[in-house]
């Protein structure tokens, strides 16, 4: 009986048991391993008929580009999508989890999901992990109450905004939004502005790069425009081809007869000691 009381019941979720040991190791000089991050530019904006989300497609592992064309706009519900910045595993896992929860909720209630539902599920999950789940999200969608756009920070706070940017390229993208955003944009103006903001992130921030993904959500309809723009095509291809000879290549052969260059002094003075 005492055995049962001692061991805690198996709970789901993150176990903080190893944190103290990790801290001790770091103090002793262990460098923590780097994880796959989406150093990122993600944006969202509310336009006349709905919401437009945008994202770049570069995933980094420290200084290396791990994935040149990853997907950062995650599906939550037919009418709700979520962009994610931060640790790739965290954004993937948390959006998948809430997406499943929303589906079950749809079956249970018989209604379409609302953006505030996704918002509340995400923020309460992130808050309970006190910022250790490193996911910074831009959540957007259109439901019965209208178009909505929210940002969610890793510690669990949220903002409700007409335009938003997150990730390492957020300042470059926000500079574009702050100078060009107006209320009541049309769909084409909105998509153009979103693509411009993401391009600003791609070209001015080192953590962002490659292509632009866009997702337009309106009442009853969504368009997922994967690779809407490809401003970084690999255009140079070497004419010589990329196979190399196995031996050292002979570039040039030149024979220089030594006798012509050397003056041989026949019968000269003997060398002095």
């Amino acid at each position: 009986m005492t055995r049962f009381e001692e061991s805690a019941p198996v709970k789901g979720g993150f176990s903080f048991d190893l944190c103290k040991r990790n801290e001790m190791l770091v103090q002793k000089g262990l460098k923590p391993s780097s994880y796959l991050k989406t150093g990122t530019t993600i944006v969202g904006l509310v336009f006349r008929d709905g919401v437009i989300l945008g994202a770049d497609t570069r995933a980094t592992e420290g200084p290396i580009v791990a994935d040149k064309n990853c997907e950062k706009i995650h599906y939550m519900a037919p009418n709700i999508y979520c962009c994610g910045a931060g640790t790739a595993a965290d954004t993937e896992a948390v959006t998948d989890m809430v997406s499943s929860q929303l589906k079950l909720h749809r079956f249970h209630t018989g209604r379409d999901s609302r953006v505030v539902t996704a918002l509340t599920l995400l923020k309460s999950h992130l808050f309970s992990y006190q910022g250790h789940v490193s996911a910074a999200l831009v959540l957007g969608g259109v439901d019965v109450t209208g178009p909505h756009l929210h940002t969610i920070y890793p510690h669990g706070s949220t903002d409700t905004l007409p335009f938003a940017t997150m990730g390492s390229g957020s300042l470059a993208a926000m500079a574009i939004f702050e100078s060009k955003y107006r209320e009541g944009l049309t769909r084409d103006e909105g998509v153009k502005l979103v693509a411009e903001a993401i391009s600003s992130g791609i070209f001015n921030d080192l953590g962002s790069g490659s292509n632009v993904d866009v997702c337009v959500i309106t009442k009853g309809n969504r368009e997922y425009l994967r690779n809407y723009m490809l401003p970084n095509l690999r255009t140079y291809v070497s004419e010589k081809g990329y196979s190399f000879s196995k031996k050292t290549e002979v570039l040039m052969t030149k024979i220089t007869p030594l006798r012509e260059l050397v003056e041989v002094n026949e019968g000269g003075d003997a060398m002095e000691e």
């Binding site: 505030v116 409700t160 007409p162 500079a175 100078s179 001015n204």
Partner: protein, 246 residues
């Protein structure tokens, strides 16, 4: 000639506590971003007039754009007292140059190089002048625009910025700057950048000056403020359809 020696000689014990009180460890009164661009007739600079004391907006009439000799303009962000010290060095430099009375005068390239050496040497003695500087000018028709940081990193370009300006203003300048901007276009572009900084940099104040340098000379505008717009409908009642969020 010039006494650049600071009162803290390069000590061998890097963690000596007495020597610490003689070295700059952190800034106190700081200025935020400066932006500089080349345009058709010369160069344009913008900087606001705020001097923050930590998170307090302590001084609201700090001139962060100054002329150097006949040909150059300097703009500084960072510690204001260090900027005042740099101005003393530069005034002495220009004075000595004038005393030669040889018809030649120091141009922006020379002043930039001088500042780079000063900043880098101070950094090597672990006693930096805590500034990021923008230095530009025009001499004999040639325009020059450069920047120096507190550790001596320096480069020249068609448009430069310090601090937050690098993150918020330079993306806009990379898109919209082109050769031969007119004066009006240049000012409009600078104001666009300063407005974004005003919205998104917490240490920015809405009181700025624009400085211009051409072959004719240096002028700096009277302080003025930018129009801002806060009346988005979405801001008026952001959580209208999202009860409980903020």
């Amino acid at each position: 000639m010039m006494n650049l020696a600071d009162s803290a000689p390069a000590t061998n014990n890097m963690l000596g506590s007495e020597a610490d009180s003689q070295r700059t460890l952190y800034p106190y009164v700081t200025g935020t971003s400066v932006i500089g661009i080349k345009y058709k007739d010369g160069l344009l600079f913008a900087a606001d007039m705020g001097g923050s004391y930590g998170s307090t907006l302590r001084y609201k009439s700090v001139e962060r754009l100054k002329s150097v000799g006949k040909h150059s303009v300097i703009g500084a962000s960072g510690e204001i007292s260090d900027f005042q010290e740099i101005m003393r060095y530069l005034d002495e430099l220009i004075l000595f140059d004038n005393m030669w009375d040889d018809g030649n005068s120091l141009g922006p390239k020379e002043v930039h190089n001088y500042l780079t050496r000063v900043m880098y040497n101070r950094r090597n003695k672990f006693n930096p002048l805590w500034n990021s500087l923008v230095l530009g000018g025009i001499k004999n028709g040639k325009k020059y625009l450069g920047t120096v940081s507190m550790i001596g990193v320096h480069y020249e370009d068609d448009h430069v910025a310090t601090g937050f300006g690098n993150h918020l203003a330079r993306p806009i300048l990379r898109d919209e700057w082109h050769e031969n901007l007119t004066y009006e276009e240049g000012v409009k572009l600078l104001e666009k950048c300063m407005r974004v900084l005003l919205y998104r940099d917490r240490s920015a104040v809405n009181k700025l000056q624009i400085a211009k340098i051409t072959e004719e000379g240096f002028t700096v505008s009277e302080p003025y403020s930018l129009k801002t717009s806060w009346d988005f409908n979405a801001f008026k009642n952001p959580t209208l359809d999202a009860e409980g969020s903020w």
